[in-house]
């Protein structure tokens, strides 16, 4: 009797996970697999009903109408990722290092850096669209005031060469507070003893940063990189707010999120007839890219911790 009771207690934990499991399966796993299933179907109605096998994928990868857009969107998403890693996360690391030191008015700076992250993407997108406007935007007026006459009326968001970079920079501006906070927590987690030992050994501040702090922060950097990666490959709102769902101009700001939205959900203006099957296959491709990226990170992390 007593033994049975104990066994019941041992298995008991499972019942507590049921509510979470139900929610997870119903709202996450089921839609995910259903969307994958939908990528094998075609049809015009509410639910595509005609089974077509791999036809949607064949279309997506061989029909130049889809393929060129998919490759373009992949390229632009990579540019966005590069900008976010190179500028947003590097600045985040720098800010965190400064904030972790004995700076006067730390909390004021911390608030300022984090403030944009609390704003709606649609609002920041709209504001920056105004700031970058060729006719009444502040950026051009400041540049012209400084004597750079060639920027008079320069359409930052209208040129394919600069549009994606601008969108990337605005994303970086908005979200720089998040990596800053995570890195700050990471820096504060480094034991004072280690840093003290390093400085007693005669290491300069720069050496301490490169040789002590940074290696200890590697897991956090990995985490931030993965978060940025997932965020960028799922991004949609900032492009929608700043340029449009077609990735204007000339698809130069078309990223995975806008491509999926355009093909799978909204359709193209003015007919606006979405192709849900191909849309679902794009979603599946995005899922596999994310899956690969995150698995790689987990593998590296596992290996890293085993070596340690």
């Amino acid at each position: 009797m007593a033994q049975a009771k104990r066994r019941f207690r041992k298995d008991h934990w499972f019942f507590f996970t049921i509510p979470a499991l139900v929610i997870y399966v119903w709202f996450m796993a089921f839609p995910l697999f259903n969307s994958m299933r939908m990528s094998f179907y075609q049809g015009t109605g509410l639910i595509p009903t005609q089974f077509v096998g791999l036809q949607n994928y064949v279309e997506l990868f061989t029909n130049p109408l889809f393929r060129d857009r998919l490759l373009g969107a992949l390229k632009n998403t990579c540019i966005l990722f590069a900008i976010c890693m190179g500028i947003q996360n590097t600045l985040g690391l720098l800010f965190a290092n400064i904030l972790a030191g004995r700076l006067k008015g730390r909390s004021v700076f911390r608030t300022i850096i984090f403030l944009p992250a609390t704003m709606s993407v649609l609002v920041t997108g709209f504001l920056w669209k105004l700031i970058l406007n060729p006719h009444w935007g502040a950026v051009n007026q400041i540049l012209v005031r400084f004597g750079l006459k060639q920027f008079e009326g320069y359409p930052w968001l209208g040129k394919p060469e600069t549009a994606m970079i601008m969108v990337g920079l605005v994303t970086a501006w908005q979200w720089v507070g998040i990596p800053t906070m995570i890195f700050l927590a990471g820096f504060q987690g480094i034991s004072e003893d280690v840093l003290e030992a390093a400085s007693i050994d005669g290491a300069s501040a720069l050496q301490i940063f490169w040789k002590v702090k940074l290696p200890l922060l590697t897991p956090v950097i990995g985490l931030v990189a993965v978060m940025t990666f997932v965020g960028n490959f799922n991004a949609f709102d900032i492009v929608f707010a700043m340029t449009n769902a077609r990735g204007a101009p000339e698809y130069s700001t078309d990223i995975m999120g806008t491509l999926f939205y355009r093909i799978g959900i909204a359709g193209q203006h003015p007919v606006a007839q979405p192709n849900m099957g191909v849309g679902a296959s794009i979603a599946t491709v995005i899922f596999f890219i994310l899956f690969l990226g995150v698995s790689m990170w987990m593998y590296l992390r596992e290996r890293g911790s085993r070596v340690q």
Partner: protein, 423 residues
């Protein structure tokens, strides 16, 4: 305590009474829903419906519009799921024809007043194989808005030919005024309200369009090249940094008096009137080149159709019949300036600017926007092709010849009548 109980009993009695009364009333009247993408005109359409309710007290119609970019998708979802509105705004040509072909719309053959009050051209926008499926409801017109004060200041006349228009633009530019405020940041407006606005002046009206659609001439003939050339002509007169100028920016540049002209549509009238710019403004028809007749892009925009699965078809048909009357057309014209009734009977509009705009097409040949009737049912569709080509010509990355070839080669991939010109 007792008082309270008596009070709740009273409330209950009143509630039951109200319920019973409303049930009795609703037994007499049928309520229909009207789906639409015009979220901006709720009050105006409700006044139109009130006029109908007055003469038909047994029918109630509830206007229930959807966010415009989502309308097509939402409507299709509702219709497939059996929850579609009884009556609905139907897009002209391809989108409406698809819905009808799939059986979601009731055929309106023989509807009283339909043939008598509407021209073949406007009925064609909502017909498939000569079977009408919606009552032509609203059209939009295209033209060029201009700042009358600026024109006076620089001694300019309304241009009658395309050449004169360019002359006017040159004079304005020399005087430091932006001639045209349009830009290409939003992309669709350069295609829809600049290129398709001027296009029929260079290729001709409906007859000419049919020549392209039946494969008599290829899409890269000299006339099409000349239309793209016209875009190249106006490119230097667009605002500096036009690639970054959105549709809204273009309206503002005009309203602030910084640009003298704006290629626009009649739907802008209401916005311009309500913005009250501090100068006098008006519109003129986009002029044709010397020696060609001026053709106005007068585009059938919305029809009204009946859900074939509606339980109140009879009431719905009554409403559609009423819509074909001059009475309904007059109310529509007065309530929604800039969207014109398609009724053949001549209508006078109360709004001066809307009336000026309406007058532009009278006595002239008119046509729908070029790609709407036939060129949207394949991939890549005609709209996307003209848009890409138009933007490239304005930007200077395609010559007019290359743009016309691009259009032809794109359509060749699926549009059968033109495939014989394939090289």
């Amino acid at each position: 305590m007792r008082k309270q109980r008596r009070f709740s009993l009273l409330v209950l009695v009143v509630l039951v009474g109200v319920l019973l009364a409303s049930a009795l009333v609703s037994a007499e009247t049928v309520t229909l829903t009207l789906g639409s993408w015009r979220v901006d005109d709720v009050e105006q359409v409700n006044r139109l419906l009130d006029a109908f309710h007055k003469s038909h007290p047994d029918i109630r119609i509830r206007f229930n519009p959807t966010n415009p970019p989502d309308y097509n998708a939402v409507l299709r979802t509702q219709l497939t799921g059996g929850t579609g509105p009884d009556l609905m705004y139907v897009r002209s040509f391809k989108v409406g024809q698809d819905l009808f072909a799939e059986g979601y719309l009731e055929p309106l053959t023989g509807l009283e007043g339909l043939e008598e009050n509407f021209s073949v051209g406007s009925r064609a926008a909502w017909s498939l194989n000569d079977v009408p499926f919606a009552v032509p409801f609203m059209a939009v017109s295209h033209g060029i808005y201009y700042n009358v004060d600026l024109f006076k200041k620089h001694n300019l006349e309304i241009p009658q030919t395309w050449e004169e228009l360019l002359q006017v633009a040159e004079t304005l530019k020399a005087a430091g005024v932006i001639p045209f405020s349009n830009g290409s940041k939003d992309e669709w407006d350069m295609n829809e309200i600049v290129f398709m606005n001027l296009l029929p002046n260079f290729i001709g009206g409906r007859e000419a369009r049919l020549e392209y659609e039946t494969g008599e001439v290829p899409f890269n003939d000299a006339k099409m090249v000349s239309a793209f050339k016209a875009l190249q002509d106006i490119a230097p007169y667009l605002p500096p940094g036009q690639e970054g100028v959105s549709y809204y920016d273009a309206q503002q540049l005009f309203l602030l008096g910084r640009a003298a002209m704006f290629f626009g549509g009649s739907w802008d009238v209401a916005f311009f009137v309500s913005s009250e710019p501090d100068f006098e403004w008006s519109v003129f028809a986009t002029p044709a080149p010397e020696g060609r007749p001026t053709v106005v892009t007068f585009h059938p925009d919305a029809g009204l159709g009946l859900n074939s699965a509606s339980p109140h078809k009879e009431a719905g048909l009554k409403f559609l019949t009423w819509l074909t009357t001059v009475e309904a057309a007059q109310i529509l014209a007065d309530e929604i300036p800039g969207f014109y009734p398609l009724n053949q009977t001549s209508i006078t509009l109360q709004d001066k600017h809307a009336n000026d705009f309406y007058a532009l097409h009278e006595g002239k040949d008119v046509d729908a926007r070029f790609v709407w009737p036939e060129l949207q049912s394949g991939d890549p569709d005609g709209y996307l092709l003209t848009q890409t080509a138009a933007l490239a010509v304005v930007k200077g990355s395609m010559t007019p010849e290359e743009a016309a070839d691009y259009l032809q080669e794109g359509l060749e991939t699926w549009f059968t009548p033109t495939q014989k010109f394939k090289k």
